[in-house]
Amino acid sequence: MSTDQIQPPVGPDTTAARIPRKRMSLWSLYTRRFVRNRPAVAGIFIFILLVLFSVIAPFFAKYDHIELDFLNLSSPPSSEHWFGTTSAGNDTFAQVAIGLQRSLMIAVSVSVGTTILSAIVGTAAAYFGGLIERGILLVIHFLMVIPTFLILALISNDAGGDWRVISLILILTGWFFPARVIWTMALPLRESEYVNAARYMGVPGMKIVMRHLIPNIGSLLVINFALGVVTAVMAETGLSFLGFGVKIPDVSLGSLIGYGANTITSAPWLFYFPAGALTLLTVSMALVADGLRDALDPTSAAGGQA
């Protein structure tokens, strides 16, 4: 933390020693810049609450998410079933908790996967240039044209609702857009001195990419990761809503909203709770991404001195 002491005047006529100032560590700088963005703090608070809810709630829920309560079919929220029940007698509270857990697992693994893949492909394209660059860019532009959602639906429908396969497919169809951005950001790095130095030392190409280029766009990757979580949740919800994603008995927020949509006037609570959880999840994560950008991006116009 910096001190607010006034420094003695500096000039040829004075020999006063400057008061030594404690250096601010990188992490405290990041934290300070992040905390300055109030919505981001609220976002991370909500996100942590959602994660805790998805992990802890199944332990103290009165019912399992597969268990059927035949005495309460389509009953509105009550003290017995906090979020009401479905027409088959499933407890919506347990379903929302498990669904949130599943959506989070898919989102985080997809976001990790796309970030890694897009970072390697994007920086490699920027570093190697020439034929490799043109080939990669061609693939990226091509993937922008084909409706990837259709490919996603085709393959994941075949996968039979296994969330790991769905995540894998989401990674394979989601990497190209961030890769395009990373390529643009990594282009100036190719010309930088330390990359040239490494090349003249005889460091092999892929090693330069991994050791010099990727760490230098690290802050962008962190932000991309947070935004990737939002994108993945959205894609997964769309797929599961249409019935191509996670399938019974497994549930995700998307499939829950899909069931709720059919009875939206007669049993609106089946829609309200998963939709609320989903909206909180995506909005909070977007706010966190915004705060991370303020904290990590040196060109961010967030203002302030730190």
């Binding site: 919505p39 532009h141 091509f142 922008m144 044209v145 084909i146 409706p147 990837t148 959602f149 259709l150 490919i151 639906a153 085709l154 393959i155 429908n157 075949d158 857009f177 395009r180 951005v181 643009t184 950001m185 282009l187 802050s219 962008l220 932000i223 935004l227 939002v230 949740v233 959205m234 919800t237 769309g238 809503f241 249409l242 191509f244 998307g254 909203i257 709720g260 949509a261 939206i264 006037t265 609106p268 829609f271 939709a275 989903l278 909206t279 995506t282 909005v283 994560m285 977007a286 706010l287 915004d290 950008r293 991006d297 060109t299 961010s300 116009a301």
Partner: protein, 374 residues
């Protein structure tokens, strides 16, 4: 801003400013070079047509390749034969083959041969094939595509105009109350899932209809059956179209708003805008004629690449609002292992993207002096 980089398309802003200052210098010598200028202009126009033509050919190639790749992908994951499983009386394997072979859907024929049959039919007869049970893809797509295009293009245009207008409005009032409220709203609406937005709008519309006591908004279907006359049909279409378009606009406008705001703020303090102010333009004029023009270019490129997103959104909204468009067809073809139908949808999506890209190219040509010169 890092995420802005995605839309900026590696255009060098410095070059743009240099270009503008160059134009200011040139204007004083413009009077004496009238004839030369006209000749230059003619050459520019042919260059322009060549440029647009080249882009058009590029997109056409992309569409062809994308469609063909989807064809092979569809064959890898869909099996038309499974449509005949569980028929009563059960069909033997040979009987199914006999049914599928004239439809070019039998897996007993080598894939390359099937592909050529399908591809040559499209090229020479514009026939996109039939589904496993014999429905023609052409006739299905012909009426469905207008239903979806109505939704997608309408939503794209409204989204872009609304977002850009909001961006300009809030950028000229940076950090004032209107800007803060606008930004907070946009961050939230941008991250609402289209499914949630559409279903929320359905709930609100049902509530509104109950309140008024009449069906002002229809929550299912794209049009009513028994409406005649020009104005009743338009009114009926609007009653059906409003809610799905509203859902698509609600989740889509914010990205243009935030992008336009950031880009305009980058430009508002640039030298050429100050020059314009110094020449006596009001702040509004300077923003409209100089800063906005520069900052619109990346936004125009962005519009093209959001069309696939809006198409995906349209698939979901069509499902929610019970429209019988391409979205419904998408679900049907995948459910019924209709290889030819799936490929037609992929082609439709690619064409939509290409149309958006060419429109944004034309917009860029109109806005960006560098493209017109080179």
């Amino acid at each position: 801003m890092f995420a802005g980089g995605l839309a900026k398309h590696d255009r060098d802003p410095g070059l743009l400013i240099r270009e503008h200052s160059g134009r200011v210098n040139n204007s004083s010598t413009q009077r004496c070079v009238g004839r030369r200028k006209r000749r230059l202009l003619e050459r520019k126009n042919t260059n322009l047509i060549k440029y647009l033509l080249r882009r058009f050919m590029g997109w056409l190639l992309m569409i062809v390749v994308a469609t063909n790749v989807t064809y092979f992908l569809a064959w890898a994951f869909l099996d038309p034969r499974s449509n005949y499983i569980g028929r009563r009386p059960p069909l033997s394997r040979d009987e199914v083959t006999q049914l599928l072979e004239p439809r070019n859907l039998s897996d007993t024929v080598p894939l390359v041969q099937r592909w050529w049959g399908w591809f040559s039919d499209i090229i020479f007869h514009w026939d996109w094939g039939v589904s496993a049970v014999g429905e023609s893809v052409n006739s299905q797509v012909a009426y469905r595509m207008w239903i979806s295009a109505e939704l997608v293009l309408g939503a794209t245009i409204i989204t872009a105009i609304l977002g850009i207008a909001l961006g300009v409005y809030t950028a000229s009032r940076q950090y004032k109350l209107a800007d803060r409220i606008g930004q907070a709203t946009s961050v939230v609406t941008m991250n609402i899932n289209i499914v949630v937005a559409a279903l929320g709008i359905v709930l609100l519309a049902i509530g509104f209809n109950d309140l008024v006591g009449a069906r002002v908004f229809f929550v299912t279907g794209s049009h009513s059956q028994d409406v005649t006359g020009f104005f009743p049909i338009v009114l009926d279409a609007l009653q059906h179209l409003t809610l799905p378009t509203l859902a698509l606009v609600l989740v889509g406008y914010a990205q243009y708003h935030l992008l336009q705001r950031t880009l305009l703020l980058d430009n508002i303090n640039a030298d050429y805008v100050r020059t314009a102010r110094a020449k006596g333009l009001t702040k509004q004029q300077a923003i409209r004629k100089h800063a906005l023009r520069t900052s619109l270019i990346p936004v125009a490129t962005q519009v093209a690449f959001t069309i696939p997103t809006i198409f995906t959104g349209a698939i979901l909204t069509e499902r929610i609002f019970g429209w019988n468009g391409m979205g419904r067809y998408f679900l049907d073809t995948i459910g019924k292992n209709d290889v030819h139908g799936v490929v037609a949808i992929a082609a439709f999506g690619a064409v939509l993207t290409a149309v958006g890209a060419i429109l944004s190219d034309i917009a860029i040509v109109a806005l960006d002096p560098r493209v017109r010169v080179s």
